[in-house]
């Protein structure tokens, strides 16, 4: 098995401590201070039958999806910014402005342009799409993808796609300390603000993940 420990071999002495040993940091929950019955009770307490939407999707929108196609195919596809025109629900008419910055139209909202970059890292099969509605000065809506080989992960051929969005404060209307290019855009009354649909991010991303899966699986099966 290929070990991709490109920064190692590690030594215990080189760990980042910044002057403090972990034992000196208050609030850690480890086996040094808690026995097994203790931690089992804690796990019971933390595990519930049901969770509120806010608990699950309040700050992060995580998604995982199995795709039956080679992992490099999935990565190559997603790394191309124009793939967004196929598998997203409503990002269309993408064109290159220059310097790796692309501009498209977001049909989910009225008269809304979207600025996006596709930052792809082949070594780790990571694709990040930093993007933003209305302006390209700060690409604060950040879509993070990682494509993992399903064989060692799920013991079957294919790809596992992991997709995460984090809730940037600009999504939230109650956060007022924002630049003009956010406050002006947020004040528009002819459309929803992108943050207003944050509660639906999981749903829309599941729809889009199914599109991505369907496209890749169809093309792999019929290519």
């Amino acid at each position: 098995m290929l070990v991709r420990d490109s920064l190692g071999p590690w030594s215990k002495d080189s760990i980042v401590v910044n002057g403090t040993k972990s034992g000196e940091i208050p609030g850690l929950y480890t086996c040094e201070d808690h026995d097994i019955p203790d931690v089992m009770a804690k796990l019971e307490e933390m595990t519930k039958e049901t969770y509120s939407h806010e608990e699950i999707f309040g700050n992060y929108s995580h998604l995982g999806e199995y795709i039956h196609c080679p992992v490099d195919m999935a990565f190559e596809y997603a790394a191309n910014v124009y793939s967004l025109e196929e598998w997203t629900f409503s990002l269309r008419s993408v064109k290159h402005l220059g310097g790796g910055l692309y501009k498209g139209i977001e049909y989910l909202a009225k008269d809304t342009s979207i600025y996006v970059r596709a930052e792809a890292y082949r070594d780790c099969r990571v694709v990040d799409y930093p993007c933003a509605w209305d302006q390209g000065d700060e690409l604060w809506m950040r879509y993070h993808f990682r494509f993992v080989d399903a064989m060692p992960t799920l013991r079957k051929p294919g790809t596992v796609m992991l997709w995460t969005n984090c809730k940037h404060p600009y999504y939230d209307r109650s956060v007022t300390n924002v630049p003009n290019y956010i406050s002006d855009a947020r004040e528009r009354t002819d459309r929803n603000w992108v943050g207003d649909i944050w509660p639906y991010f999981d749903a829309i991303h599941r729809i889009e993940a199914m599109n991505l899966k369907a496209i890749l699986e169809y093309r792999f099966a019929n290519g």
Binding site: L97, G98, G99, G100, L101, K103, Y115, R117, P130, G136, D137, E138, L139, P179
Partner: protein, 333 residues
């Protein structure tokens, strides 16, 4: 290993002041792009031509530096030079400066990484001193650009640009260098270029007969892409450089960024997390001097006693719309 110590930084600004508030548009209507924040923040600037050639400006700055530091020109081992518009298409002005200041034992090196050239020259000087190859090095920046382009001067898009020169002395001593971060981003090559203006609907290469005067053919898309690059790259480079130095923004005594326009400067500070009073600018009075912006602003900060021994200075800039980014942390000796 010998240490590379920055001794002093001076500027030489041409005397002719262009007052932006008194400029009137001549034959060109202000369009939407002219109103872009990309082209704002300058009250006045200096023009060098035709009073000064680039080699004149560079020589004046270096002479001033040698006088102020009591350095004999013969002790200079190397003059590093970066010039925005040399006096000839080719060669560069390094030898002219070397001869005029009487640096009879010096070699020269002309260097160009666009608006990052000053930081690249500091890195180069540091490497030469630390390796023991040279002991005494001068760095010269010369900006003599917009005053030579009467056509481009008419465009409001050029009203942020100014002229000026700087000189910096480095000697073997206590190292001023804490950390540096430089990265070429060739994926952005060609986004921001100087090229001949279109003549009779035809854009000729600069080496072809009949090409137009040098200009920048700005488009809204190009400005959007440059803004996006600049606002992301510079704070990222500064943060990486501080990380390399093992420092946080709280440790920084003074932040000096490139001076392209008020919007970039304000956004950079807010994204880096360093603001008044730990910042210094010259944009309002000198404009954007390309590679000269950081040393001229640093010289101005020194002149105004904003730099003390032991201070941690952080510099950050980018080049050519984003094809290069650079940051440096210095401990002032």
């Amino acid at each position: 290993m010998p240490g590379a110590q920055i001794v002093d930084v001076v500027s030489f600004m041409p005397e002719r002041v262009v007052d932006n508030t008194k400029l009137a548009l001549d034959g060109e209507d202000e369009n939407e792009l002219d109103k872009n924040a990309f082209f704002k923040g300058v009250k006045e600037r200096r023009f060098a031509s035709p009073e000064y050639q680039s080699s004149d400006l560079g020589s004046k700055a270096l002479k001033l530096l040698l006088e102020r530091t009591g350095t004999k020109p013969e002790v200079l081992d190397l003059i590093l030079c970066s010039c925005m518009f040399s006096d000839y298409f080719w060669p560069g002005i390094g030898p002219a400066i070397q001869y005029r200041v009487g640096a009879s034992k010096a070699t020269i090196l002309n260097l160009d990484t666009g608006c990052s050239s000053y930081l690249s020259m500091l890195n180069t000087a540091r490497a030469f001193i630390e390796s023991g190859i040279y002991k005494t090095i001068a760095i010269v920046t010369v900006t003599n650009f917009i005053s030579r382009l009467p056509e481009f001067q008419k465009s409001k898009k050029s009203w942020v640009l100014g002229d000026g020169a700087s000189a910096t002395l480095l000697v073997e001593g206590k190292s001023s260098f804490v950390a540096s971060y430089e990265r070429s981003h060739g994926e952005h090559y060609g986004l921001f270029v100087f090229q001949p203006d279109i003549v009779d609907g035809q854009g000729l290469n600069y080496w072809e007969r009949g090409c137009g005067p040098i200009t920048v053919n700005f488009s809204p898309d190009m400005v959007t892409a440059i803004r996006s690059n600049a606002l992301e790259l510079v704070p990222d480079a500064v943060s990486k450089c501080l990380f390399k130095a093992g420092l946080s923004t709280d440790d920084v005594s003074l932040l000096i960024t490139h001076q392209p326009n008020a919007f970039f400067i304000k956004e950079w500070r807010s994204r880096i997390g360093i603001g008044e009073p730990r910042v210094h600018d010259t944009l309002e009075c000198y404009g954007n001097l390309f590679q000269g912006s950081i040393p001229v602003t640093l010289a101005d900060a020194i002149e105004k006693n904003k730099v003390q021994a032991g201070d941690l200075l952080t510099l950050g800039t980018f080049s050519n719309g984003g094809d290069f980014v650079s940051s440096m942390v210095l401990r002032w000796a």
